[in-house]
């Protein structure tokens, strides 16, 4: 015991010191996100809001996204019931993923980087690092649970009870601990941190989808799913603490298994064999284009699936949209404009939101070029006849392609699902969805161009584009509720374009923004040709 965990307490304190900023952001971020929407939900609950929301939430598509509720009549659907129903699963999921990434990052990742080797050469037990990291993560989740409970109670809202608040917080914390133990387990089984992160995130995704199926058919079956042990506590309604006891037992067992696995393996080794790769490259890899497609393949596929699912998820709402909109004043204000059908109004807003999210992928791809440069991956390529022109335009081209693909998939997902969920008497067809989506496509191109410009001149500032994107997202999302002055709205690029299908297409705007975006790319190219490559700076 002493040999294994010696002086873990020193590491533990050291880690708290090392991570204190991250811990504060973590706890406040997830804590406020989990508890802070109560006032907004209070607004939603006014009038017939609760009943309308209850109807909407009976839609199996919604249940598969946010989980079930134990309530079986609209009258019992209180603010607390609604809040737990719509928020808890998602908050738990986020908490789970953050804890998981933290644990893998500080166990297996450090092992891969050679840090563990150094630490173990001191008078530190072989497994002290894992124990210290787990202790840190558990402590963070306990604090998170307390913060969530206190913030929730501080709103003094009806039906947000003391017990329910503590249970809600504890459920989010328990989700984090489950994520942490899964991360630790796979950190032992897989040959490296990359594999451990991938497999454990994949498992979390699988558990989420698994519970989507069982929730929609028979929620009792979700009780055999570790993810079920978080949201099936039903805070503010049934206040069932049992699932948390399952979560606790599960965590203790998994953590012990993980420690046994760690104790029996060599540092740097795993249990699952590493797949042998190719001795020679496939022809498709052997070009700048091939290389960059390969480097971005994972991101493009992952995000594409995300876009499709996102579109489908929003599309599934169309069925119950009318109930939902009619019962809710704020939402009505947001979506209803004169002489326009609800579907069309809803579509224009949703497509706006989706297209903002689609813009993330091109920014990711363009920033990847700088990340590659900065990690000195391109040193040997710079010294071949491959030109900067080729590197730049390959990346920009791929980003443009990803923007088109993302727009296409999200709109197809939205339109396809919406049309199948809606009653037959809708004025909209598939073509309307595509036209509305691609009407906003120049804004995606604009973000591509903006990223390209920055990568060409001040590459270190590449991430600033995300901030502008977040800014324009918020502006567009709340622009319908709050009365902002026009010039202010126009600081978001999407606001320049007509909101189709509500408004009609404007070719001049379409062409102008496209042209500006292309100009930004060309300007970026001029900078990229001229500047010093920044290797390891």
């Amino acid at each position: 015991m002493k040999e294994k965990f010696a002086r873990w307490d020193i590491l533990f304190l050291q880690y708290l010191k090392r991570d204190w900023k991250k811990i504060i952001i973590w706890i406040l971020g997830i804590g406020l996100f989990s508890a802070g929407f109560i006032p907004a939900f209070k607004e939603l609950a006014k009038g017939d809001g609760l009943a309308g929301m209850y109807e909407t939430m009976l839609n199996p598509a919604m249940i598969s996204m946010v989980g079930p509720t134990p309530i079986d009549s609209a009258a019992d659907y209180t603010l607390g019931a609604m809040y737990a129903h719509e928020m808890l699963l998602f908050c738990g999921l986020v908490s789970m993923i953050v804890s998981l990434l933290h644990v893998v990052g500080h166990t297996r990742k450090e092992e891969d980087l050679g840090l563990t080797e150094l630490v173990r050469s001191f008078q530190i037990g072989r497994q002290a690092n894992s124990l210290a990291t787990m202790a840190e993560t558990v402590l963070i989740n306990v604090l998170l649970a307390v913060v969530i409970s206190i913030v929730m109670m501080s709103f003094n809202a009806d039906t947000i009870t003391v017990e329910g608040s503590f249970l809600f917080g504890a459920s989010v914390g328990a989700a984090g601990i489950i994520g942490a133990v899964l991360g630790l387990l796979f950190a032992q089984l897989m040959p490296n941190a990359h594999g451990a992160t991938g497999i454990s995130l994949g498992l979390v995704g699988l558990l989420y989808m698994g519970r989507a199926g069982t929730d929609a058919s028979n929620a009792d079956l979700s009780m055999i799913n570790p993810m079920g042990w978080t949201y099936l506590t039903y805070p503010f309604t049934e206040n069932n603490w049992m699932p948390l006891i399952f979560a606790l037992i599960f965590s203790v067992i998994v953590i012990m298994i993980a420690f046994v696995f760690e104790g029996n393996r060599d540092m740097g080794a795993g249990y699952l064999p590493e797949k042998e790769g190719r001795a020679h490259a496939k022809r498709s890899l052997l070009s700048v284009q091939g290389l960059f497609v390969r480097l971005n393949r994972g991101a493009i596929i992952g995000w594409s699936i995300g876009f499709l699912v996102m579109g489908a998820a929003y599309g599934s709402i169309y069925g119950d949209m009318q109930t939902f909109l009619q019962s809710n004043e704020i939402m009505q204000q947001m979506f209803t404009q004169a002489e326009v059908s609800l579907e069309e109004s809803f579509t224009s807003t949703i497509i706006m939101v989706m297209v903002v999210l689609v813009s993330i992928l091109p920014i990711v791809i363009i920033n990847k070029l700088f990340a590659e440069e900065n990690r000195s991956h391109l040193s040997q390529i710079f010294s071949t006849k491959v030109s900067r022109t080729a590197l730049y335009w390959t990346t920009v081209g791929l980003a443009i392609f990803a923007g088109v693909l993302g727009t296409l998939l999200s709109v197809a997902g939205l339109g396809g699902t919406a049309l199948s969920f809606m009653e037959s008497d809708t004025p909209m067809g598939m073509k309307d969805f595509f036209v509305s989506g691609f009407n906003l496509w120049p804004s995606v191109l604009f973000f591509t161009g903006l990223s390209a410009l920055i990568i060409g001149w001040v590459p270190a500032a590449g991430k600033l584009v995300y901030i502008y994107l977040a800014y324009s997202f918020i502006l567009n999302y709340f622009g319908g509720i709050v009365d902002f002055p026009d010039w202010f709205l126009k600081t978001a690029i999407q606001s320049w374009m007509p909101e189709m299908p509500v408004e009609s297409f404007d070719l001049t705007v379409f062409i102008t923004i496209t042209a500006i975006s292309v100009a930004l790319m060309v300007l970026g190219y001029i900078g990229y040709k001229r500047r010093d490559m920044a290797e390891g700076v």
């Binding site: 891969d112 040959p191 490296n192 990359h194 590493e274 042998e276 790769g277 190719r278 001795a279 020679h280 490259a281 496939k282 890899l285 052997l286 070009s287 700048v288 091939g290 290389l291 390969r294 480097l295 994972g298 990690r375 000195s376 991956h377 040193s379 040997q380 390529i381 710079f382 010294s383 071949t384 006849k385 491959v386 030109s387 001229r530 500047r531 010093d532 490559m533 290797e535």
Partner: protein
């Protein structure tokens, strides 16, 4: 002989910091030039300028008579480069990366590649993320040595390689040398430079402080003499060209200036010499002088 690389008064600033203040040297066709200097003296910065990765602030730099910034692509067709820290894509295998580099360079030789993979004992099927530093370095070396170039630029190429692999690398460099290729070899392994280089360029704090053949450099510096004699060796202390004289009974150690060698030998001749060892300065001696400043 034509000049393959010609660097004249090159300067480079990073913001306010002066990385290179005056770098001047040449590499002639078929010449192997050792490029040495302490850490942070500007070796890699110079090489990056030569490769057109960063832009110089002043001076001239040409390879094959072409400007290294404006005509970099023309130049790159005929050069190969191995950085001191080969960073690879973790998700690709070593074999895939070598093939990619060959393709992007153009004119790779498949048999040579397979031969080198075998000689360097690299497992090409492993993902690059599982490679050690030495194995990553091998990937860079195999890719560079499998293509036919006129100028090879190696920036501390053997860092992380074991002595066996290091000697394979040296054999390969000798092969290139006998094939008349030009080589710029930046290295901290001075025995390697001593063995391979025709000419040595020493850089310190962004400035070239010494260039020339090892012979020339040795000529300019003092040899170390150890002698033992029946006569009184203290007489040697006053002879012209003797420095740092130290005596231990009838043994003496001192440095001898080359141009006074005759006087020193004449003086020693009178002392009934038992033993007289003169060793030329090693590159390490030369180098230490610059390290210590």
């Amino acid at each position: 002989m034509t000049e393959v690389v010609k660097v004249e008064g090159v300067q480079k600033n990073f913001g306010k910091a002066k990385a290179l203040s005056d770098v001047t040297f040449t590499i002639k066709a078929g010449e192997v030039v050792g490029f040495i200097g302490p850490n942070g003296s500007g070796k890699s910065t110079t090489i990056r300028i030569l490769l057109g990765i960063i832009k110089r602030n002043a001076g001239n730099a040409e390879i094959f008579g072409k400007d290294v910034w404006k005509n970099s692509l023309e130049i790159h067709k005929r050069i190969s480069y191995v950085p001191g820290d080969v960073n690879l894509w973790g998700s690709l295998t070593g074999g895939e990366i070598i093939d990619l580099f060959l393709k992007l360079h153009g004119g790779g030789n498949k048999e040579r590649r397979d031969y080198l993979i075998e000689r360097f004992e690299l497992d090409p099927k492993k993902k690059a993320k599982s490679y050690s530093k030495g194995n990553r370095q091998k990937v860079g070396l195999i890719a560079a040595l499998s293509v036919d170039s006129d100028l090879y630029i190696f920036d501390e190429p053997t860092s992380g390689l074991d002595p066996l692999m290091e000697s394979i690398f040296q054999e390969e460099v000798e092969r290139l040398k006998s094939a008349g290729k030009s080589i710029l070899l930046s290295s901290h392994i001075l025995s390697e430079v001593e063995r391979l280089a025709d000419k040595v360029v020493i850089i310190r704090q962004g400035e070239i402080v010494e260039t020339g053949t090892l012979e020339e450099m040795r000529h300019l510096t003092r040899s170390t003499v150890e002698m033992e004699a029946d006569g009184d060796v203290s007489a040697m202390a006053d002879v012209a060209g003797v420095f740092g004289f130290e005596q231990d009974g009838n043994k003496a150690t001192f440095s001898a200036e080359q141009q006074h060698l005759n006087e020193i030998l004449l003086a020693a001749g009178k002392l009934d010499v038992k033993k007289f060892d003169s060793s030329p300065p090693t590159l390490e001696d030369l180098f230490m002088r610059h390290y210590e400043g």
